[in-house]
């Protein structure tokens, strides 16, 4: 199997915004779930998909170390290629190495100005020019709408696609009329794509709640393999 087949067969193919050069505009997406259901795993799969499609991804990890983020990429990459007889595995590994950069911040140290400063360092010196930014661990409960608008404005100015993870809580029943749970229920309009991870019948489902620019359409469900945390083909 070639890299292009890996990209073509990826169940995430239906997702939008499709991160990368071949997407028309920059856009924002969010993966929401309770703790421990696999938000980071889905985010990293979105990042890997973007990389395999020739894009550069900046992975911003808030509150977790560099090594942990690296391990996610290594593990999921091996799970994705396992049993697929992919050619040139070494080249694919090199693609990840060259086209991914990880930035970690303490919870208290992350802010839009800090992110902007770091992005400028990378872009102006031509060190790394990302096409897509994935931000794992942003505290949505503590971030107000203005903060998210601020980040959106930055991403628009830099023409970047951005994906977030957001932590929801079982005991917080608030939700938007479309079913976007707290803490993102009042900022639904800021995202083009909203994905919810939900436990169901002993497994975990990836439910697309909102999809303004992609082909999936709201309501589409993809199962997550709980052993490997890989998104699988939906029926």
């Amino acid at each position: 199997m070639l890299k292009k087949d890996l990209v073509k067969n990826n169940p995430l193919r239906i997702l939008s915004p499709a991160p990368g050069k071949d997407s028309p505009d920059c856009s924002m997406g969010v993966v929401i779930s309770r703790a421990g259901l696999g938000k980071t795993a889905v985010l990293v799969q979105i990042a890997l998909d973007a990389i395999f499609r020739g894009n550069k991804v900046l992975h911003v990890s808030i509150g977790e170390g560099l090594d942990k983020a690296k391990v996610w990429y290594d593990d999921l990459f091996h799970e994705i290629i396992k049993g697929q007889s992919v050619e040139n595995v070494t080249d694919l590994g090199d693609d990840i190495r060259k086209n991914r950069m990880i930035m970690t911040f303490k919870e208290s140290a992350f802010s839009r100005p800090k992110l902007e400063e770091r992005l400028n360092d990378l872009v102006y010196q031509n060190i790394f020019r990302p096409d897509c930014v994935v931000i794992d661990g942003l505290d949505f409960a503590g971030a107000d709408r203005a903060a998210l608008e601020d980040i959106r404005e930055l991403m628009t100015a830099m023409n970047l696609h951005v994906w977030f993870t957001a932590l929801s809580h079982r005991d917080d029943q608030r939700a938007s009329k479309n079913g976007v749970p707290a803490p993102c229920h009042e900022m639904e309009d800021l995202f083009e794509t909203v994905i919810l991870l939900q436990p169901q019948d002993g497994g975990i489902n990836l439910r697309i709640i909102k999809d303004d620019v992609g082909s999936a359409g709201a309501g589409r469900v993809l199962p997550l393999d709980t052993a490997t945390m890989i998104v699988t083909e939906g029926k």
Binding site: H59, E64, G65, L66, D67, A69, K70, R97, K98, M101, I102, M103, T104, F105, K106, A109, K114, R118, D121, L122, Q125, N126, I127, F128
Partner: protein, 693 residues
């Protein structure tokens, strides 16, 4: 004293460079009364620390060779190996860890977990060494042991739990609070030799109780008895000690202690922890290989009555001949005993048996299981196993990294030439990461090792210890060559020069190998190449790997498969088939799309965040790939992968870019293919050099 193995601790002290290992060891020796005065690493008295016995070590203030010593603390014998912090000398750390049962990981309370701490921790994990951590330098400005404990958890993945908290920090460091006893410990006297126990200062009580709670939470996971007692509110000191020991031995917990070795605070409490929580030789399972049963693994028993099994882990050439450091795992070693080197079957009689104390020694009559001693006059290599004559076993081998840098050395005169040979002979025996060979084309002696400092130190030692003055060339990167696709060959070697000629034909293919350097596969059927010449083909291919035709570098990762061939009843010979294989390899090699590989280093630049952009830019200019950045407050660590060839002189560049506020460390990561433009210039440089000759 009656030998009681349960009262022996073999421990290593390892950490990042300049985190105070040698200073701490000096205090340990002082408090255990092995020495009677404390000398500092760069002390004004000019004596230097006891464990830094090599002149160079004293001058540079770093530990180069690990030194072994022992001391007694509260009726226990502690064997200590003080190991180097610089990554170039990592083999010393690896060797020490192989023979140790436990380790103290030293961290600087300001610098925290740095890249070398990560390397050392990984090595400890590889050899399953239980560890305790000591956060040193709590007296320094910017000390933050709490942050460092957090890094132990986040960066090293250790279940780090504080067993002490400092009383005051920086200039105000007074002592420590023992969270098990719930007492304050102060270290009085000119050299902190008097440990005074007192009540915890009232203003710290709340913090101490909270920290003790955390400790009990973690420790009770290792003891049901403690868990019940905690629930009932009656945990005893013994229960906590027992649970912490279990957690430590199972490698599932790393107790953390704090202090300042330089200010003589916290060292005695650390020694208590060493004997309390680190394993004795019976707690550790060591595996040996039974050479009579096809290297079947078996567990070594630390029983003095059983046959001897011991491992030579370090060699030194001293005034009285070769000194061999040995760790005994099973049985006893007595003066006059006959022992066998299981690698070559050579027998030796144990002459002088000594315990080492840095570069001084103490004669002993016998050593029991778990002991670390040294023998005189035994010819062996590092890593050899010695046993009594009735068994044939080997301890598992040690991991030896490949050298990444080389340079040519030319002796300045005849005398130096002779002395240089002697020196190289000794150094290569002592240190498996230091290699030497003579380049057949240039006739130059090439030395290779793990980094610039590594080679620099050996050149300096040649001069100082052997009087061998050498002119050293520019350091060169140790490139490798490999193939990227399968290619066939069919080569006939034919030579007729009167008398019997030479004839041999080999056909087959070369293919890349993911793992390993070289493999020879014989797929000959029907005797087209007679059996006696198969090994000649293997030899020929192996010879071909010594020097690739692109850059003259060693070829690795090649499988040579022979499928066909032909011979002549009279003219075929060993040499004819060797030459046929060499010819076949040459033919196949260029068709197999060979590439040049270069060593890639894992580089960590640490410094104030304001210089992050400049530092990243400098790495980027060096063909570096930025793996990531970790920002903590005003401090950032940049992790990158950079070709070694681009790292020469980087320390000066980094210093000027960051006003001397950032530092970097690097260690070998892997070999990777060089980009085409670089490959072209490497090939050109090699061709130019060849044409000059």
């Amino acid at each position: 004293m009656k030998w009681n193995i349960e009262k022996v601790r073999n421990i290593g002290i390892s950490a990042h460079i300049d985190s105070g290992k040698t200073t701490l060891t000096e205090r340990i020796l002082f408090y255990t009364q092995r020495i009677h005065a404390i000398h500092e690493v760069r002390g004004k008295d000019g004596v230097g620390a006891t464990m830094d016995s090599m002149e160079l070590e004293k001058e540079r203030g770093i530990t180069i060779q690990s030194a072994a010593t022992y001391c007694s603390w509260k009726d226990h014998t502690i064997n200590i190996i003080d190991t180097p912090g610089h990554v170039d000398f990592t083999i010393e750390v690896e060797r020490a860890l192989r023979v140790l049962d436990g380790a103290v990981l030293i961290l600087c309370s300001v610098g925290g977990v740095q890249s070398q701490s990560i390397t050392v921790n990984r090595q400890m994990t590889r050899y399953k060494v239980p560890r305790i951590a000591f956060i040193n330098k709590c007296d320094r400005t910017g000390a933050n042991p709490e942050r460092v404990a957090g890094q132990l958890r986040d960066k090293l993945g250790l279940n780090a739990v504080m067993l002490q908290i400092p009383i005051g920090l920086e200039n105000a460091l007074e002592g420590v609070v023992d969270l098990v006893k719930m007492k304050a410990l102060y270290f009085d006297g000119d050299q902190g030799e008097k440990v005074r126990e007192a009540e915890i200062p009232a203003h710290m009580m709340e913090e101490a109780l909270a920290k003790r709670e955390e400790l009990l939470d973690v420790a009770s996971m290792f003891s049901d008895e403690l868990m019940e007692a905690v629930l009932e509110g009656t945990p005893t000191e013994e229960m906590i000690h027992d649970a912490v020991r279990r957690g430590t031995l199972s490698l599932e917990m790393a107790p953390v202690f704090v202090g300042s070795a330089y200010k003589n605070k916290g060292v005695q409490a650390l020694l208590d922890a060493v004997i309390r929580y680190l394993p004795n030789p019976t707690d550790v399972e060591n595996i040996a290989l039974d050479l009579q049963k096809d290297e079947e693994e078996f567990v070594v028993r630390p029983d003095p009555e059983k046959p001897l099994i011991s491992l030579a882990f370090k060699l030194e050439d001293g005034r009285y001949g070769q000194l061999t450091y040995i760790r005994t795992y099973q049985g006893s070693l007595k003066k006059g005993d006959s022992i066998v080197n299981s690698r070559n079957g050579k027998k030796f009689k144990v002459g002088r048996l000594v315990r080492m104390h840095s570069n001084e020694m103490e004669e002993i009559e016998q050593a029991g299981p778990g002991d670390i001693v040294a023998l005189f006059g035994i010819d062996c290599a590092s890593g050899d196993t010695f046993t009594s004559s009735d068994i044939s076993v080997s301890m598992s081998s040690m991991h030896v990294p490949e050298p990444v840098i080389s340079l040519a050395i030319i002796p300045v005169d005849n005398k130096s030439q002779q002395n240089m040979s002697k020196a190289l002979n000794r150094f290569t025996k002592e240190d498996p990461t230091f290699r030497t060979f003579v380049d057949k084309e240039t006739n130059e002696t090439i030395i290779s090792g793990m980094g610039e400092l590594h080679l620099e130190v050996y050149i300096e030692r040649m001069k100082r210890e052997y009087g061998a003055e050498v002119a050293a060339g520019q350091p060169r990167v140790a490139y490798r060559e490999t193939i990227t696709q399968r290619a066939e060959f069919n080569y006939t070697h034919k030579k007729q020069t009167g008398g019997s000629g030479q004839y041999g034909r080999v056909a087959g293919y070369l293919e890349p190998m993911e793992e390993g350097d070289y493999e020879f596969v014989d797929k000959i059927v029907g005797g087209v190449i007679p059996r006696e010449f198969i090994s000649s083909c293997d030899k020929g291919f192996a010879k071909s790997l010594e020097k690739g035709s692109l850059a003259g570098a060693q070829i690795t990762g090649v499988r040579c498969v022979i499928t066909d061939g032909a011979y002549h009843a009279v003219d075929s010979s060993d040499i004819a088939f060797q030459l046929a294989a060499i010819g076949g390899f040459k033919e196949g090699y260029m068709k197999a799309s060979p590439v040049i590989m270069e060593p890639i280093m894992k580089v960590a630049v640490e410094g104030p965040s304001e210089f992050q952009g400049a530092a990243m830019g400098s790495l980027n200019q060096r063909r570096g790939i930025i793996v990531g950045t970790t920002e903590e407050g005003d401090y950032t660590v940049i992790e990158a992968e950079v070709p070694l060839a681009e790292m020469f002189g980087y320390s000066t560049v980094l210093r000027s870019l960051t006003q001397g506020k950032a530092e970097f460390t690097m260690e070998f990561s892997s070999f990777r293919a060089v980009p085409k433009s670089v490959a072209d210039s490497v090939i050109k440089a090699y061709q130019d050099e060849k044409n000059k000759k």
